[in-house]
Amino acid sequence: MMETVDDVRVALAAHQYLADEGLATAVFLALRLKRPLLLEGEAGVGKTEIAKVLARWTGGELVRLQCYEGIDAGQAVYEWDYSRQLLHLRAVEAAGATVVEDELYSERFLVRRPLLRAIGYEADALGSVAPPVLLVDEVDRADDEFEAFLLEILSDYSITVPELGTFHASEPPIVVVTSNRTRDVHDALKRRCLYHWIAHPDFERELAILRLRAPDVPEVLARQVAAAVEALRDLELYKPPGVAETIDWVNALAALGSTELDERAVEVTLGTILKYREDQERTRAHGVRELVAAATAPR
């Protein structure tokens, strides 16, 4: 399926993701060495997107585990469906039979949460099901105890349910872990993973992304927007716009009928690209006219 880094880049591009050499190499290595891939980077640079694209490419199911403070095994791995068990007890009793405990702890009453879904997936009769893509999103939001637990699962790709037995992935899932760096991810987890920091794309790449993700937008506009965003990122804003915001912005401008960037259009759509009042003020202080002039100047 893929032999070189370029194969990965081409395949990702075919699924609408333009990766630079570093990211393509990281993905290639993650697939080849079967290691989890830890991605960090500014919000909106496409960390989560890469997992979705990988799922589309490999045909594996996308299993997403969104982390948050206080997440525990019941929400991440599995849980017993207690209300159904209770109902079952009642039903059996009403029929005048007695309940065997084993019966209550069977697959029927097992609620599979993301980690178990990613590891205990069933190969079909031909054994040809692609392994799922497990996206562990924003792992820095979870507690460190949970991280240790995750590490254990990512080390041997097996999960034991005491009442049922051990689930083991014949082919380990593709694992993408993302973090926003609100705290350091534990070293042990980092050691387990390959690491890549996704930076904001440069002008050419951003333009290419716009052309790909917003194909109906006139090229002139896309070019000017990419240039304007590049200039905005140099303004020391609280939240420099990410790629997602650039795409939103170009779509908003196109929806308003703009074919070129002008001062008025920027003024009315500033809210789609800058989400802090202070950032908007800083941009206005810097001068929307200058921004437009710089963006529309021939490069």
Partner: protein, 379 residues
Amino acid sequence: MTSVADLPGAGLRGDRAVVGFARVLRGAGLDVATGATVTFAEALAALGVDRRAHVYWAGRTTLVQRPEDVPIYDRAFRAWWERTTPVDVDVITREVTIALDTSDDDRTDASGADGDQRDGDTIVVRASRTEVLRDRNFAAYSSADFDEARRLMGDLRLAGAMRASRRVRPSRRRRGRPDLRRTTRRSLRAGGEQLDQAFLEPMRRPRRLVLLCDVSGSMEPYARALVRFLHAAVVGRGRVEAFAMGTRLTRITRELSSRDPDAALAAAARRVVDWSGGTRLGEGLRTFNDQWGVRGMARGAVVVILSDGWDRGEPEVLAEQMARLHRVAYRVVWVNPLKASPDFAPLARGMAAALPFIDEFVEGHSLDSLEHLADVCAR
């Protein structure tokens, strides 16, 4: 296209080049585990070494774990694989030892040639003895005082205020969320009859505590005690983050997490390069907000700033950044060691600019006041 086979660093045989590179990185201050070196070798095997970019990215994905380390990696990469720059690893690893002069011989001039001595790699920081006998002020501590204080600080327990967690625990009360799991278990005991219902209640967790300590020249008399205080806080419990703020912001949580106070303080001193320099509080806070705080570290957290408020930057910058911090933090506590002085008025420009955004303004000049601070944080 340069083939790495042509590069001088690759003159060595493959695995030796890999191990050598790892050693250079370690020398440059990167934390490279042995396992990572093995993964790097595997990655090279998978990618081939015929392109510079392959070698570069194989190393970056396997050996680097933090974006701050990328410049170091780049330097080391050039040095080892290309030899285009001299291996200036020495410059990077030169350890700056902050020796805290505890000798009792009193010199009146604390900041003069003797007090702030840059002798090779050792910076001697001397607690000023000129401010002797103003309360039981840290600045007036003798080394014997300090040894005692150090021991006492080990007993300080600092915890953020509590908040309800999403997690639940079994409750003894008979109200709240039903605990179906325990109820089911109990009903099995009664042959399927639901006699005894069980309930859950939310657990309580401490909020994250973020400590930002000013280590500029004007704070020098307190820096020693306060950094020790930071250490006690960091090792005391899990959810504490510590930063040193001078002309730049340095995260020292990892350095301070060693249990041994001497080792921890030495590690922190090595990390902080702008010890006893100037202060740009506004800029420091801005970096904190941009890189850590507003992203999540300060959200819902108790943020403690330990500083005298002397700021060489623009007060507007500080006010703006304090406002940002205040909007995301649960509480902002400012600890000013000078506040204890009877004729103190928050006249330092930075202090005045920051005051409107502070929830609690406390002293921090003595052990008592630090104990009080611990109470304030837990509120």
